[in-house]
Symmetry: C2
Subunit: 383 residues, 2 copies
């Protein structure tokens, strides 16, 4: 279903030969209207890949007719040639689709610092355009995979309208394990400012709170395209809620497929003075390598949670902190709490609850454990 | 030689039974004067272990007669009982040495959130006092090991005075892989403010720039004790230089023995607008798990260096960044540079040079690679 669940969209996913192993590596998503409203959010990394620079620029009009996505090469740190390559990709898509290049966003993922094989990519765009279909969403989702073991899609349908989407990667807007590319589509009839507002509200509490390995990509891109093909204009809150739901599902799928992970860790920070404090503490816990190793070893090592909290500027008193792991309060008032042997960590999902005892705000950050497989996957070959 | 290289000091290292495996776990360092000037720097983690809270307090007088150090338990997150245990340790040392408890610093390392076995520790202090010797420095260095595979000592001797020291751990003041404990001694005749100034100047450019895994301990402690036994007062600059040299050697030894590491990585940031920028960029590179995995795999993956730089607030233009790995400029002007196959990464030491092309300042941060052994060591059992 993916990006073609909403009416007004066609998509395709093909093997253009960018990946040496012959796997699918090029996706095309087309908005057939009647509207072409669009919004996007991008990596906050200051070293931005050529396609990010391009897509940020074209999105200023609030309209997109199509998105070209490729795996097999990030086109990041590739200089002026890299930007020309992105431009040529958009031009080619515009030509075969009969639209303007300024209506085509481009997203790339793969190794940084390598030029794309344009002799394969440009014919691939033609081939993908020839295969566009209302049932092409799944193939598109497959074509954007890099180290992903499964493709990720999500759909939320309401009364007469739908939000669908696809994602690749195992990370977030800032930061990300591998590049995260997401395309969301809807047949709701909304204008670009509304899409932008709903998208930013959703990513702030979903992808932005998925922190697999603390590394921020040069290429992260999330796009939302609206065709208006349902002829329905939902209430903003309903629409924003549906977008958030799709982003939440895709974010959860990203963590579930993070490189080498054996545990999905839900870090809940509660009773914080501010939401920003809750996020800062959650992120600090989620990025603590020692803790992530302990969780891998099914060791409820709450001392590592406290030492992570201690590095933040959040409001708290050390001797009022409480920590639960899978519901067992192993740390009470900053000291030894319930018996750690009561903690059952056999299952893939692990919940760490950090109670700051400083207010009423909360936040959830998702991360995963740190494993030998992660090291292997990121050391055995360039990615 | 270690802490007894300087005249006026005795030390001992014994097995008190704190560690279940019977290895040495308690060290005592005594300043026999004639002076007892001292200075210290401690973890900036807001969750501080009981011995850190105690030692910070007693150092306010600028005098120390002795330091008791134990491995086998961090006495962190142990509540009021933990502070009482540290107090009792200092009282016991004071009693057997005939000094005041307020002249005794305490340092602990090991698992967080477990109470120390005081029934073993206190008799251990008596036993250590009975074994104090001018040749006890090495035994003391051995007794403070936790996951260290070797003990670490350094000595710098000048005309008529000496600075010596011992260290355990594989980390830094902020942050640290495992807790870092360091005791430095000198027979130079200096007062506490001079010691404090020299110690802070040294740690700022040595231990503070060793960043093994980005995790900050609750227990990091660096103490400098001066006996004045040489009867010599060196020029401040000479003394500060010697202290820096000893700290530099110990810091380098810490990285060389970091948990699971197979590569020692020297991250040089050059041509930064400010020293703070250089340190921020160096630390960001040093903490990038993806890059640390790549270095482990002997993969000169400079894209991961650029994406790490891009997450900082340092002054730079993305298209003016240059990166060398082991002297080969694999990235020039933010894009593809010399052939990455020219990079020889077979040796343990790897140098990453990041040229920000934004000024004249520089800094060096030391880190190590991320390995499956690190994961194993930190997941297979609590530490």
């Amino acid at each position: 279903m993916s990006v073609t669940a909403a009416k007004g969209f066609t998509a395709a996913g093909i093997a253009a030969g960018i990946k040496e192993n012959g796997n699918p590596d090029l996706a095309l998503v087309v908005n057939n209207g009647p509207r072409r409203a669009a919004a996007g959010v991008f990596t906050s990394n200051r070293v931005k890949a050529a396609p990010v620079l391009w897509s940020e620029q074209v999105l200023k009009t609030g309209e997109l007719a199509a998105v070209v996505l490729n795996s097999g090469g990030a086109n990041a740190c590739t200089g002026p040639q890299g930007f020309q390559d992105t431009h040529a990709t958009a031009e080619k898509a515009a030509e075969v689709l009969g639209v303007g290049a300024g209506e085509v966003a481009v997203a790339s993922t793969g190794l940084i610092g390598v030029h794309l094989p344009m002799d394969k990519l440009l014919p691939g765009v033609e081939k993908a355009a020839a295969e566009l279909s209302e049932h092409g969403g799944e193939k598109a989702a497959i074509a954007i995979k890099t180290t992903d073991t499964v493709h990720k899609t999500a759909v939320v349908s309401r009364d007469r309208w739908t939000v669908g989407g696809m994602a690749k990667g195992a990370g977030m807007l800032a930061p990300g394990l591998a590049t995260m590319l997401v395309v969301l589509t809807t047949d709701a009839d909304l204008d670009a400012p509304e899409l932008d507002k709903a998208l930013r509200a959703a990513t702030r509490v979903t992808f932005d709170r998925v922190d697999s390995d603390g590394c921020m990509s040069t290429n992260d891109t999330v796009l939302l395209l609206a065709s208006g093909a349902s002829g329905t204009t939902p209430a903003y809150d309903d629409f924003a809620d549906a977008v958030r739901e799709v982003c939440d599902s895709l974010g959860r799928q990203l963590i579930g497929d993070a490189e080498g992970a054996s545990k999905d860790i839900r870090v809940e920070v509660v009773n914080a003075a501010t939401e920003a404090d809750a996020v800062e503490v959650g992120r600090s816990i989620a990025r603590n390598n020692l803790l992530k190793c302990a969780i891998h070893g099914e060791d409820p090592n709450w001392g590592r949670v406290l030492s992570a909290i201690g590095t933040t500027n959040a409001a708290f008193e050390p001797d009022r902190l409480n920590v639960a792991i899978n519901g067992v309060w192993v740390c009470k008032n900053g000291s030894v709490g319930e018996d750690r042997d009561l903690v059952d960590m056999r299952y893939r999902e692990v919940t760490i609850t950090a109670d700051l005892a400083a207010g009423t705000e909360s936040a959830v950050i998702w991360t995963n454990d740190l494993t030998a497989d992660y090291v292997h996957e990121n050391s055995a070959y360039s990615s």
